[in-house]
Amino acid sequence: MSMMAVAEQTETEPVVEKKSPGKALWLLAPGVIWMSLFLVLPMLMMVYVSFWTQTTFTIEPTLTLKSWVTFFTSDTYLGALWTTVRIWLIVLVATVVVGYPAALFVGLFVKNKALQTVLLVLCVIPFWTSFLIRVLAWRPMLGKEGAINMILMNLGITDAPIEVLLFSELSVIIGMTQIYCVFMVGPIAFMLGRIDTSIIEAAQDLGAGFWRIFRTIILPLSMPGVVVGAIFVSVMVLGEFATSAALSGRKVNLLGNIIVTQVGSLKWAFAAVAGVVLTILMGAVVAALLRIVDLRKEL
């Protein structure tokens, strides 16, 4: 290369660098426009509407705190908030308890990558059917004359059908755990799969037994997976309404169910209040989960 060419290159390089960030920002434009129009704007609207004045059949843009006061003084709404938090926590723990061992098996003990993928796909198979079918299929399973009760009674383990299995909080928890477990298994299995085998062998070589290694090495290194899985499960469970409606016989009311009923009876202001409360709750949960691990370090 001649001296001229070298000089030219060094001169043009900084200019190119200066320009590129501005140009690259255009890549964000579609996303930003879409999200502003269909996420940020509606959310601001929801907050705004929650302060509108609601009468039985109409809603007026006169600002008032009435819907908020009603929400926080009513046993129904506070009860729904508490039920939502309770069911979310139980389902979260249940998905970890059911999902972690499965992820441990797939991510750590299955050495063959192809088999690993097959097993993870197996976890997703229930999602090939529609949500409604998945939820409603629990009825012939858990019902008074359902499969579980029939088996228990035929084996002579119980005399009468166990009624708490269906149309109860238990059935909602069973259904949700089954549906959302895969969102826990995936991220955990992914993180476990990334652990270098030689790290575990090194721990073994230094004299640690399996449980020690699990507690000191495997669990901490898989925590980002648990947190990502927990965020998936939390966001979905907190916003749930269909599973609880179908499996609890409308006995279990989550905030999501409240929103559906309020919108159904044109009580937009109440629905908006519940929506804002739910959004804040989700934001707080996600923020708290993100404090457990520094996800930036993992990416």
């Binding site: 030689s198 790290i199 070589d205 230094l206 004299g207």
Partner: protein, 358 residues
Amino acid sequence: MSTVLQLKSITKAYGDMRALNGIDLALPGDAYISLLGPSGSGKTTLLRVIAGFEHPDAGAILFDGKRIDTVAPHQRGIGFVFQNFALFPHLSVAQNIAFGLENRDVDPVTDRRIVDARVRDIISLVGLSGLEGRAVTQISGGQRQRVALARTLVTEPRMVLLDEPLGALDANLRARMRAELRAIRERCGVTFLHVTGSEAEALGMGDTVLVLESGRIAQSADSDTVYNRPASPAVARFLNCYNLFAGRIEGGAFVGGVGRFALGASAPTRAASPAYAIRYDRVSVRPRDTAIAEDEIRIEANFVASEYSGAAVNSFFALDDGKVFEVESHLSHAAPETYAEQGRYALVWKREDALVYA
């Protein structure tokens, strides 16, 4: 010297591939042993079998006179330093080093002060002082190497297995760590079994050099013997400093592809197939018309290229049968000669310098 580790006819196969094919081995205590082998010769498998990460198909492993083949890796008391160091990425330098002391099944150290003191001692031994609190992702390759070594040494194993420990370091650091590893070992008084694919590393570091070839120990001797008297043509080839000819012995001469080489007085070494080996630096390059002495062998070849490496020049010649012949000239003996491209030269060596296998 007492034997610390003994292997008796160890075999290990993966499907049809025999990684270890009857390994017999006795390693002394308090020694630096290097295990040299080309890639695929089974050296990593051998280390993993000794450490317990792989089970041998047959044979026995005795450590301190006791059989350990059925003992779990975490109860063997043999240290292992991984090629990629395998540091715990979520723990600091000091936590990595303390791991074995605090978490081992057998006799864990629960007293925080004792752990701290021993970690401090080993950190100064390997020269890591001041880095205790650093994350292992924030230190250099050489420092990581030391953490890996310190983490193993702090548990006071009777023996440490090192799987290509210098492979991940750059050349400069590798040379420095060679001397350091030897010094650290001497201070600890344990046996190091150092696996490497580099002949220079193996010869330079080992009190004893083991050469592994197709799943067998081809030679076990001190560096000087391995270098000057490789036990088989395969070992000679792997040392990367011998020109090898295949052929047969006939009436006091070795008959190969480029001619008859008269044999010296010493008896040929026994080997599976006959071969003739002459070391790169035992050959001199002369003009074609120079006469040779009574005890010299002479062949002709065309000059191809030469490679300058500072202390020596390696010249490559094409023999008439198409094979490449290498000559190494040390520059401390004479100024480098320049050879004409494609020029024809005589390559001459003394009969007694050649190694003959039959």
